[in-house]
Amino acid sequence: MSPPLSSPPGSGYFKTRELDWMLHVVQAVAEETAVTRERLMTLEALLVEKGLLAKGEIDGYRVDGAEAQARIAWHEAFTARLYAVLEETAKRK
């Protein structure tokens, strides 16, 4: 299907075109997050519907001890990947 014919995706709203692009990127990420979140809602609803999970069981799940430490380590690795560009740039001569 052809894209809108009249004008390219919103541009010229900010002082530089890179900022226009950045806004599209942020919106796309927000959309993917929302879609993923909805899929989880559906998954939870199905599990409750089929009796595999009680309503509110996920919200009531407590993460502590070794499991909490493992998750913190996961967040650390994730954010390191997120900002890897800084490290890579700094290392470059």
Partner: protein
């Protein structure tokens, strides 16, 4: 007669497709209800005395909050269309087949007549009104119905985003009002101009039982969809490709000629031509009604004119402001209706969610 009747051409989105549409909808609501009012807040903070929308623009041009809102609003409209288009693209072949089947059978008595001799009006060429992908004129093959499918699916989402009730079609609102204003009015021949997906033509055919209903548009992709949709609903409507201001019907042929949300999508000169044609094809005693958005310039502040003007420049509504500024009632008189025959009113959705502007005339027994 609700505006979202179920029929065979509607495509059911998957979970993720539906989530994308709901995301766009939620985002549109946030942008419209919470963030758009910030435009006024920012303008008032500047304490500028502006007499015209151009003066407001000069004051607001560099405002970072407003620039950001504009960028978000535009991106969200594009995102909404992408989310509407995805399921239709997925089922494009099935929709084309539905069109072929339904138009071959036309067991319900409806017809479709496309006319390659009808030129696409210059104002529709190369423009995607409200950013609908491909525009209304999208017409890539002999069974391309996507323009109509996008129009109907997009309209449903747009209305939901704007909080407009879906319990009543615009045709039902007008029919109810006609019964009050002109008791006993029972048209035998009806014409719906600029029918798009035919979502008003079918309720009129259902409401005025026994009436012969004709519906025209200039865009083949809309008409194919409208025809298949009407057949799928089991309603007889005669669809033809024709320009609003060049009707190929005899004088005094119709008892009721109507258009919905059309005037703001045409140049005022075309609207004037349409009114002249209405005066010609209406039989004495016949009624013409034109419903549209309740955007009237008279009485608006410079700020409001500027704010409403956003859609013209960023949502491809080229005639939005010209329509808002036009004296449509006077245009009907210039088209040949007598002053006493012309009316103008505001009609409200039964649930109070939206008001519509209505103008029209009853042709006298001359």
């Amino acid at each position: 007669m609700s505006r979202n009747e179920s029929h065979a051409l509607l495509v059911s989105p998957t979970q993720d497709e539906g989530a994308r549409q709901r995301f766009a909808l939620g985002l549109k609501r946030t942008l419209g209800r919470r963030l758009r009012p910030l435009r006024r807040v920012r303008f008032e903070q500047k304490r500028a005395a502006c007499e015209s929308p151009e003066a407001v623009e000069a004051v607001m041009r560099e405002d970072p909050v407003d620039r950001f809102w504009q960028a978000l609003n535009r991106d969200t409209q594009e995102r909404m269309w992408a989310a509407v288009a995805a399921p239709l693209e997925r089922e494009e072949q099935r929709l084309a087949q539905q069109f072929r089947d339904l138009s071959a059978e036309h067991v319900h008595g409806g017809t479709l007549r496309l006319d390659p001799g009808v030129a696409t009006p210059s104002y529709l060429k190369g423009i995607a009104i409200h950013l609908q992908p491909g525009g209304y004129t999208l017409d890539r093959s002999q069974d391309d119905v996507i323009a109509g499918a996008l129009y109907e699916a997009g309209g449903a989402i747009y209305s939901a985003g704007a909080g407009i009730g879906v319990g009543q079609s615009k045709a039902e609102i007008v029919s109810t009002w006609l019964a009050q204003r002109f008791p006993g009015f029972a048209p035998r021949r009806i014409l719906d101009i600029g029918t798009s997906a035919g979502a008003s033509a079918t309720p009129y055919a259902q409401h005025f039982k026994g009436a012969e209903v004709h519906a025209i548009d200039v865009c083949p992709g809309l008409l194919r969809y409208a025809h298949a949709r009407a057949e799928a609903l089991g309603v007889a409507v005669h669809f033809r490709q024709m320009a609003a201001d060049r009707l190929d019907f005899p004088d005094d042929f119709f008892d009721f000629v109507v258009s919905h949300n059309l005037m703001h999508e045409m140049p005022p000169a075309t609207t004037a031509g349409m009114f002249r044609e209405c005066a010609r094809v209406l039989a004495p005693g016949g009624i013409t009604v034109h419903q549209d958005v309740p955007l009237r310039y008279a009485g608006l502040s410079a700020f409001e004119k500027w704010d409403y003007g956003w859609d013209r420049d960023h949502n491809n509504e080229p005639f939005w402001l010209e329509f808002a500024a036009a004296d449509v009632k006077a245009m009907l008189q210039e088209a040949g209706f007598m002053p006493a025959e012309v009316f103008e009113t505001i009609l409200e959705q039964a649930d109070g969610s939206m008001r519509w502007f209505v103008v029209g005339a009853r042709k006298g027994l001359r």
